[in-house]
Each structure stands twice: as C-alpha cells, then as structure tokens.
Subunit: 259 residues, 4 copies
C-alpha cells in the first residue's frame, strides 16, 4: 500500500533533520561522502537525490549528473571525467548515474563492447578500493522497480506535459530491454558487490517509501556523531524593523490570486 503524503512528509522532515546533523559532522571532520544512485529509467533516482539535496546546503552537497562524454573525454581513461566530481574535505557528492553506466546502459544498448565491459569489471573494485582506502565514504544504491510501475511512469511522462521532457527515445528502447537490464544488474552485483563498497538495493515501487528507506539506511551507515552548530550571538535588533524604501524602481504588481 502506498504511503500517504502526510506521513511521508513528516517522516522525511525527521530524516532531513538527521541529514543536516550528518552534514554538519561531515564538514566539521572534513569527511568526504559519495553516494551513487543507479537503477532503471523511472526508478526514481532524480527524486531521491532531490529529497536529500533539498535538505542540505547546495554549496556542500553537489549533484553530479554527467552529460554524454565529449570526444576528448571518450579518448580518456574511463573514470577520468567522474573523478573530477569527487568531493573535497567536508563535502558530499550525489551521483545521478555513475561510472556504472558502462556495465548498465552502455552494455544493454550495445554501446560498449564485451571487452570494455570486462575491463570495467576488472577495474571497478580496485578503483573503488582506492577511494575507500583514501577515506572517502562510498555508498552505492540500486533502486529497483517492477515493469508495471515503470510502464505507469512512462505513461505519465508521455501524458503529463510537465514530465514530457523526461522521456527520450532511449526510454522507448529500454522498455524492450527490461530483462536485459536485470541481467546487467546481476552481473554488476556479481562483480562489484565488495566488502569495501557493497551495493544496497532499495525497492522503489513506491517511490516515496523508497526515498525514506534509502535515506534511513544511509544515515544508519554513517557515524551518528553529534556536532553542535556553531553558536551565534544574536542580539536584539534595538530598533523598529525597517521597511524597504523604493526610489528608482518599485516592485512589479503581485501575481493575481483571488484571496
């Protein structure tokens, strides 16, 4: 049964508060946090990322959603363009899709050769171990979703003009490859579910519940160290609050809403 909006919002507020505390801890200790979001189209990666990002200081928590590689990038070491988005001390990067593209969409769509995928699988555990050994806290989430829900969400994107831009021709192709994606995902788990960088699968058939589950899990796997906010001395204003005074320009008329 789908979670109710009110319950969702109330639970999210609580988690948000914990995220804020976690972020304060990360900044105070110079922690670097990387969270990968993977899953089928429509699984809910963007929404989950937004739910976290909206709680935090955008100057601390960045979203990395890489466009398709330029010619120059295509000739580089595969991980090179992702690496530049790794966080500095105190920061958090949320990857909306990640280096796993190679073994996911690129493999399923036939854009990467068998050899490239094999090389990727050899490299990933080593690459991720380097990051983890360096002190980066790396979390990898896979958002799962049945095709019935995927179809429903595709349909919504097709029909709802607000969401139409989310739909691309790759999505059409993806529909007939549902099972291939499952297979690709299992191969990814087989090769890259390591002790130092394990995968966590979250059921996103109900996206709201999925977000709560994911954030709860993320928080549970980070130290729960309370760092008090920096105290701020906040004196009385000492005078009546001032009003805006307009000389050269005045505000334009308000958006009309019948009160």
């Amino acid at each position: 049964m789908a979670i109710k909006k009110k319950e969702y919002e109330s639970a999210l507020d609580d988690l948000c508060l914990e995220l804020v505390g976690m972020a304060r801890w990360a900044r105070a200790k110079g922690e670097r946090i990387v969270v990968l979001f993977e899953g089928r189209d429509t699984a809910g990666k963007g929404g989950a990322i937004k739910a976290i990002h909206n709680c935090l200081d955008p100057r601390q928590c960045r979203v990395a959603a890489l466009p398709k590689p330029s010619d120059e990038q295509q000739g580089q070491w595969y991980f090179q363009r992702y690496i530049q988005y790794l966080p500095t001390a105190g920061d958090i990067t949320l990857f909306d899709r990640s280096w796993y593209n190679r073994a996911g969409v690129e493999r399923v769509m036939g854009w990467a050769s068998k050899e490239e995928v094999a090389a990727f699988f050899r490299a990933v555990p080593v690459f991720e171990k380097m990051l983890v050994d360096d002190g980066i806290r790396l979390f990898k989430y896979w958002l799962s979703c049945d095709q019935a829900h995927q179809e429903e969400r595709f349909r919504e994107r097709l029909d709802d003009p607000l969401k139409r831009w989310k739909l691309s021709s790759t999505d059409v192709a993806a529909r007939s490859k549902y099972a291939d994606y499952t297979k690709a995902r299992e191969a990814i788990f087989a090769e890259t579910h390591t002790g130092w960088a394990p995968w966590t699968m979250v059921d996103f058939n109900d996206q709201k519940r999925g977000r709560l589950t994911l954030i709860r899990d993320l928080l549970d796997r980070l130290p729960d160290t309370y760092v008090p906010p920096e105290p701020i001395d906040w004196p009385e204003l000492g005078h009546e609050p001032l009003s805006e005074g307009f000389e050269r320009l005045k505000p334009i008329p308000d958006f009309p809403i019948s009160d």
Copy 2:
C-alpha cells in the same frame, strides 16, 4: 494576506507547464537564457530558483552559486569566474547571487574598495551589453523584503534545526546594515538599470506569492512560441509487465510506517 498553499501549488503547476514549454523552445532554437537573482539574505533567492529548477531538466537548467573566489580567481578579471557559467546554446543558467556581489555584499561589508565599486559600475553596463548583443537573454531580478520579515526568517533559521545551516556570521552583520543594503541597491539601480538589461523588482514579503510573480514576469518577457514536443512512437508492450527478479541481492526492508 499570505497566499494559501493550495492556491500556490495550483498556480505554480500552471507556471511550471509554461516553463517547460519555454525550455523546449529554448532548446529547439538554441536560445541562451541567464537569470540573475539578487536581494538581501533571506529574501528568497534560493527558493525562487528551486521553484524554477524543479520544473526543468537539470541537464538544461543549471544553478550557479559560486563559492568565494580562490586566490587565483581573486587576481583575475572580476567577471572571469562568472563567465564560465554562461550557458551554451539551448541552456539556462540561474545565478544565485551574481557579479553584483561587488556592489552589494562586498561593498556593504567593506570588502571592496570605493575604487573597485566605481570600476565595477563602469564595467557592468558594457559587459552586459556585450552579452545581450551576442544574443543572450539576460534577466535581472531583485527580491525585496522588509526587515520585519527578514528578522522573522532569521529567527526561524536560528530556531529551526533544519534551517540552521543557512545562518552565518555574515547574516548577523547584515542585520545592522539593512539600510546600507537599501542604499547599495539604489546605487546599483542608478548605475545598471539599462535599456538592454533592466532590473525587475519583486516583492518577496510573501515568498510564495513572490515566486509566482517572478516566474509570471519572466515568462511574459520571453516569446511565447509553441514548439511541439518531439513525437514519440509508443507501441504496446506486447507482454505482461515483468517483475524485478532478485538473485544476489534483495531489497532491504522498507522504512516502517504504520499503514
């Protein structure tokens, strides 16, 4: 009177739809759109930006909220670090604060010298004209807000642990400089409210209404050219929708909510 949540959401949905159409037009025609958001702390720049950004494809619409300049950047041409965020054809950049920092916060806080501010004022109209002459559509919004509201929002940030991170020691200093900011703003208007890059002031005492007003105005000042979405051929699936099959990893337990 504050706008009601329901009315706000319904009106915002309508505007969102128009924004989506506008973005489709921008992409189709290779338009470049730049929107600056300026205003006091707590005025509501971040919220207004988020309202727009949430409607659009994050790969098309980017938010530029620059951190404080590095040593290297401090030695460069003042506009240099902003310029790299100007959009490419088809894209939109929303600046959360902008080059006007020099004549705003930097001036009021005494971080920029009188000469630097004067030089800035000489440069800005020329700089912006270059962008506009090059075809960039540049919009400059100033969000106004009385001190009573500012105080209330500061207080909220102080008290609400979810918002505490938004509060910095600069904010404390800002309180005693309310009138100085007004003066700085009027100087900015005097010097940079040009025919090719005019300012628009929007009353953000009610932030929700302010957002609607701003977005409505932005849309009204862009051509209302309908570009149909690319048609997508969407065949029947042709089989029962598949379910996720889990082998190596199963989803973790759902976030518990008493249904």
Copy 3:
C-alpha cells in the same frame, strides 16, 4: 640580409634578460600581461612565442593555443573559451592565435558567416576595452611575411620530416588565399586598431630578426621598472659535495657518443 646566428643569439640573450626583469616586475606588482600573436601560417608565431617562453618561468608565463571548439563551446558566447585563459595577477599569457580567428581564418575559409564577422567586429573593441580598463596590459602583434617566404617554409615543412607535422590540408587551401588573408587583415586593422588596443605589425620575412624586433617593441612598451630579485642567503655547503649513491637501481648506460 638575414641576421647571423651568433648575432641573433647574443641579441636574444640581452632581450631575454630584460624579459626576466620585466617578469619579476609583473609578479611583484601583480600585473597581468596578454600578448596576441597573429599572422599567416608559417609567419613565425610559434617560434616567437617559444623565444619569449623559453626565457621565463613556465609557471608564470603560459601559452594558450586553443584546439578547435567543442560542440558545447560552439554554442557559447564567442569569447568565453578564450577568457578562461586570461592571466591572474602577476602572470603572462601568450596567445598563439586568438579571438581574431573569427575574422581571420574562419572568414577566409568561409567557416564564419558575414553576419558573424560583422558581430565580431562590433564586439571586439568593446571587449578589449573592458580588459584594458580592468588593468590588463594587452598587446597585439601581427607577423607579416611575403608569399615567397611562405612558400619556402611550406616547402621546408613538406620536405623536412622534422617539420612535416606542421603541415595540414588547411595550409594547402591557404596558399590560394594569400590575397584574401591580406584583405582580411586590413579589415581587422580597420575595425580593431584602437587607441586602447592598437596593433603592431612586425616584418617576419626574416624570422630571427622578426623575433628580436617584436620582443624589443614589447619591452619598450612596458614600464622599465627595476625590481631587485629577492635576496637569498647562500651559505657555504660546509662539507664535501656528496655523490649519488645507488642501491636498488643504477643509471642506465649513457647514450654512446664517440668522444
């Protein structure tokens, strides 16, 4: 008559010394220096740049030789990709070709439309004035060269395997456009030889002499302010100089030359 190698080297050494002094001044005062090198293929831009660059600290003096623009860059403001190479305080940028490409090679080869060239000509004087007003010291050199010399140098590139890589198919096309380039150059001068950013033409029929002429002129147009090198306390070593001691690895055998 061509300058003799010895005379060239001796004169260049003297100029080099002055360049070093100038660079010390630039660093001490936080000056920013930009030098553009334009001219036909084979005119000698690269050699002139190398002559200057070889005298100076490569961490202070950078060469900007931009590759052809990426798709993303093509959609941006034309000057955007050049701007990121402008120097920070204390630094020097030598542009091997520059934004004048638009009115030079792009125009002659038909890669830029008439309108684009016209827009470029409207923008350049304003753009350069902004940089100059900001304190950047901007120098623009045009290296001239008769076709007889150009042919000779092309022939050398064709025949000398060491120089063969300098020759491209664009060069072949350039030969039949010698007069068009002259015309393009005169248009550039007509539109962009301004009081704040004048052009200087240097005869590079004799490249060695041309380099000396150019560097002499550049130095003459910069203040001749002596800044003493930072004194360094240089005590006696206090012991016999040590020798390299090799344990794990020894040097490989020397390149064999019959002494």
Copy 4:
C-alpha cells in the same frame, strides 16, 4: 667528459626525428603516453622535457607542471588533480614532477606526515596499475646528479640573472637535505618500482648527454611502428608569389643589427 655541443645537436636531431615518427604513430593508433620526470632540483627535468616538447606538436604533447594545490585540492583525493592531466587518445603528457611529490619533496621537507607517505606508497602501485591496465603507456624517469653538479648549477642560477628566477628558498633548504633526498628516492624505488611501471634512472651529471640517453631509452621502449605521414597534394602555385601589401599599418622598423 662533457659531450660537445655539435655532437649533441646532431644526435638530438636524429632522436627528434624518431620522436616525430613515434608521435605520428601515437596519433594514428590513439595511444596515450605519460612520462614522469623526477629528480632533485637542478637535475635537469625542465630541460629534458623541453628537448622532447620542442620536437612535437604542442597540441598533441602537453607539459603538466602543477602549481601548489589550492585549498579545495588539498581536501581532495591526492591523485585527483593529477588525473585531469592524463592524455586523451593520441596524446602525450610530460609530467614535470608528479604525484611522487608526496614521497619526495613533501616527505623530505616535512610537509607530509609519515602516515600520508605510507598511504601514498600503498596506493601508488595500484593506481599506476589501473592506468597501465587501461592501456596508458607510463614511463617513469629519475634524473640523478651529484651534489658537486647541483652546487655548480645552483651557483649558476644565483649568479646568472637569466636563471635567477629558477632559484627559490626551497632550493636553499634542499642543499642540506641531499642525503635525505637520496634516502627518499630509494624508498620510492623500493615501493614503486613495479613490473608494470618500472623506474628508469638516468645520469644527468652531463645534462646534454642525459637528455639523449633518456630520449633514446624512451624510444626504445615504444613500438617502432612506421606510420607514413598523410600524403598532401602540393600543386604549383601557378603565379608569382605575392608580396605583403600594407595599407593601414606598416611594419615597425627592424631590430637594428649592424650587418
């Protein structure tokens, strides 16, 4: 016995020719080549790099001489800022100092902690193996030089105004740490002289001979595959070569040399 200038130049020309051929092969095959240059101050890294770089197309062969890290970079994964200079397909990067700074200068000067150096040594072989496994051709050269020569070169930098900028206060400190550097180098070899990324030591007591030795070795370790230059059709000009015609601007007077 020091090599004679003429012999050096003639031998270098031959090697240059081979480098050009190698670079053509690299471009044709999409090879990526990385060469690290390490060694004491004054060993001759810069000169060796210049000798190679001067033979090649600067758009293909780049020098990476990184400035000291910014605050943001200091908080990042140690290798992150080096990685962005790794070459794309067909290109060559020459590193003037490299990630080995951590175990070299940083260790000797006490800027890196024991733990950091230990962590670096654990990471390097893995990191380099990743690059090599990805197909990057990685070469690591260590330039050795006795203290007598180092002292002589320091003295030259101190006395010769053309070279004075090469001397810094770090150099002064380095003199008393000659033996420490030797020790650091041996530790580097002990930990990072691997089968996939071995070190090569070259005697640079005679810098000219050292350069020849290094380049010869580099060439010997790359495949000697001949790729013919692209044929270029070079028709007769068909008319008398044209002369530059000057209208708006004339060349400035030549640099005066008594012929």
